[in-house]
């Protein structure tokens, strides 16, 4: 007699539970969000929620805050990612060298990356307090600043400061990627280059950098995605978009639109714009990275 059980009856039974959950909580919400953005749903108006086409988007683009958020989101992504990459380039190159300290350093470097964004934001908010904060105390002792600069409550400084915090969190992953790449470069290349008389900088420029091109592009795309997804927590915990509107990005604005002003459809429209950016970045990531994940897909 053939023993029947659901596992042998249908091989898809193995993958279905996971796929169903992902569909309910990731795929369906993307579709539902698109539907919402084409309506005029406003939680304060009971008769709202009809289909209005692109009307909500038209209204969204009439708001000044939308343009502020778009501009600042672009700044946030580019600023935080490039700061993170610069930090990581320095740290990654250093980690690839054979100093005794590096044995310890390679172990602890991941810390900012395993800490939840919430703790990262809380810790830096505390350290950046003007008077009680340790950062200003440190900078004052080194005579790098006078007075007590308010890093998070000055319009001109807040966004840049938060970009730095985000970059601090991102640099471990990128550093490790850069380190792994550099340590993988065959040493013979450097040896023959130095026989040909190439100096340290030239060796870096013409041997290391070409190797780094790929991890840097992939790293930049991944970091960009993370700055979008984690930016909300970092900003919500530290400045909540303020002072004024100086640190509002799309995710903080869409949160306020729905949960403070109850303009659900407008918030959904903003979410859709955010999703489109994420989608663009993910597709570029997949295209750049295809030779790696394709192997995974084909088995």
């Amino acid at each position: 007699m053939v023993r029947m059980n659901i596992w042998s009856m249908n091989r898809y039974a193995y993958v279905l539970p996971a796929l169903i959950l992902v569909c309910i909580f990731v795929v369906y919400p993307i579709i539902y969000n698109t539907v919402l953005s084409l309506q005029d749903k406003d939680l304060l108006k009971p008769e709202s929620g009809r289909y209005v086409g692109l009307e909500t988007f038209r209204e969204l683009f009439k708001d000044k805050i939308t343009w502020v958020a778009l501009r600042q989101t672009a700044l946030w992504i580019v600023g935080a990612s490039s700061m993170g990459l610069l930090l990581a380039l320095g740290i990654g190159i250093f980690l690839s060298l054979d100093f005794p300290v590096n044995k310890v350093l390679r172990g602890v470097i991941v810390l900012p990356w395993i800490l939840p964004p919430l703790i990262v934001a809380t810790g830096w908010r505390w350290m950046l307090q003007p008077e009680m904060g340790i950062i200003n105390d440190f900078l004052r002792r080194l005579h790098l600043v006078t007075g007590y600069p308010a890093w998070l409550s000055t319009k001109e400084r807040a966004l840049a400061t938060l970009m730095f915090v985000m970059a601090w969190r991102l640099c471990p992953f990128l550093s490790l990627m850069i380190m792994a790449t550099l340590r993988g470069v065959p040493t013979q290349l450097y040896e023959s280059a130095s026989i040909d008389g190439a100096g340290g900088f030239q060796q870096f420029r013409f041997i290391s950098l070409p190797f780094l091109r790929f991890p840097l592009i992939v790293g930049a795309l991944l970091t960009a995605i993370w700055t979008i997804n984690e930016g909300f927590t970092i900003i919500y915990i530290t400045t909540r978009g303020g002072p004024g509107e100086s640190t509002e990005i799309m995710s903080t604005v869409l949160y306020k639109l729905n949960f403070l002003y109850f303009k659900t459809s407008k918030a959904a429209a903003m979410s859709l714009l955010n999703l489109l950016i994420l989608f663009g970045l993910s597709i570029s990531y997949l295209v750049f990275f295809r030779k790696y994940w394709l192997r995974g897909v084909e088995g």
């Binding site: 539902y32 505390w126 904060g133 471990p172 927590t233 919500y236 869409l254």
Partner: protein
């Protein structure tokens, strides 16, 4: 003479290298160390200007408020931690079970749709984040799971599944199929093979998978914020964020809560350091 010069150069390079290394070390570790130092201070010392680098009367007193609701004054932290442990624990368990099942399916069962489904999972991995706040809020609400830990558990599971399934698929593929085939020839059912042979062979990988899921759930903030609005239901991140909106923030208490929240992550990380980092980088990288 020449030899000496080379020697001095070596020493100079070593010194500069060590100094740079120490600067990076401090740059990376300082925020967590400073949170810990702050957690040892009493409230008057927290507000001192300039800040005191080494607390005068260090005390672990505040860590009691994390465990007991009557340490000194009313504390809600035990409730938050219990909720967080519940959510992260259950979400991790479900994720490990569902992800390893799915991964086994993708790795071994020659599903015709395996390739497109894996690509879909790869893409969906990028989206869980604040851009889904609005639709998920209404979805959870219509399912009647608003203000419950169940909603958050399901959500965190769904968010962890794409990446963990990928990790698992690669992990199972690295096991030589001959071992399983031998068992099947001997009359073992597929599912038994999976339970008795494949899973025990991938213990380390399963632990890494579980750790990733735990990390994700334990740290997750935006969705917990919008889905849990009764104080009894708060997870640690939500509780922390409420404390941070207060007018006079007791930074030593905040610091205590954050350090305590970081402990499970640090412990798990210390134990699994190598395989975890390799797994994460491999997951994003080598595929």
């Amino acid at each position: 003479m020449r030899k000496r010069r080379v020697y001095f150069r070596k020493v100079a390079i070593m010194t500069v290298g060590s100094i740079i290394g120490i600067i990076i070390f401090v740059f990376i570790l300082f925020p967590l160390v400073w949170l810990f130092v702050t957690s040892l201070k009493d409230i008057s010392e927290v507000y001192s200007v300039p800040p005191r680098w080494i607390p005068e009367n260090p005390t672990l007193e505040l860590y009691k408020t994390v465990f007991s609701s009557h340490a000194g004054r009313q504390s809600s932290w035990p409730v938050y931690y219990l909720n967080s442990v519940l959510v992260a624990g259950v979400a991790t368990a479900i994720t490990v079970v569902l992800a390893s099942l799915a991964a086994y399916g993708f790795a071994r069962l020659r599903l015709r749709l395996a390739a497109p489904l894996l690509v879909v999972l790869l893409v969906t991995q990028m989206f869980p984040g604040p851009s889904l706040l609005i639709p998920i809020f209404f979805t959870i609400k219509s399912m009647g799971l608003f203000n419950t830990l169940y909603g958050l558990i399901l959500l965190h599971t769904a968010f962890a599944l794409p990446f963990t399934t990928w990790m698992g698929t690669n992990m199972f593929r690295s096991i030589p199929p001959e071992i399983e085939e031998a068992a099947i020839v001997d009359g073992c059912s597929r599912f038994r093979v999976f339970l008795r042979i494949t899973l025990p062979l991938s213990k380390m990988g399963l632990v890494t998978t579980g750790m990733f899921a735990f990390l994700l759930s334990w740290s997750e903030f935006p969705f917990a914020l919008i889905l849990l609005q009764k104080e009894k239901m708060f997870t640690v991140p939500v509780g922390l964020s409420r404390y941070l909106t207060a007018h006079d923030i007791a930074w030593n208490e905040i610091a205590t809560a954050t350090v305590f929240m970081a402990i499970p992550l640090l412990v798990a990380f210390l134990i699994l350091q190598r395989s975890f980092v390799r797994g994460m980088i491999a997951g994003y990288g080598k595929g």
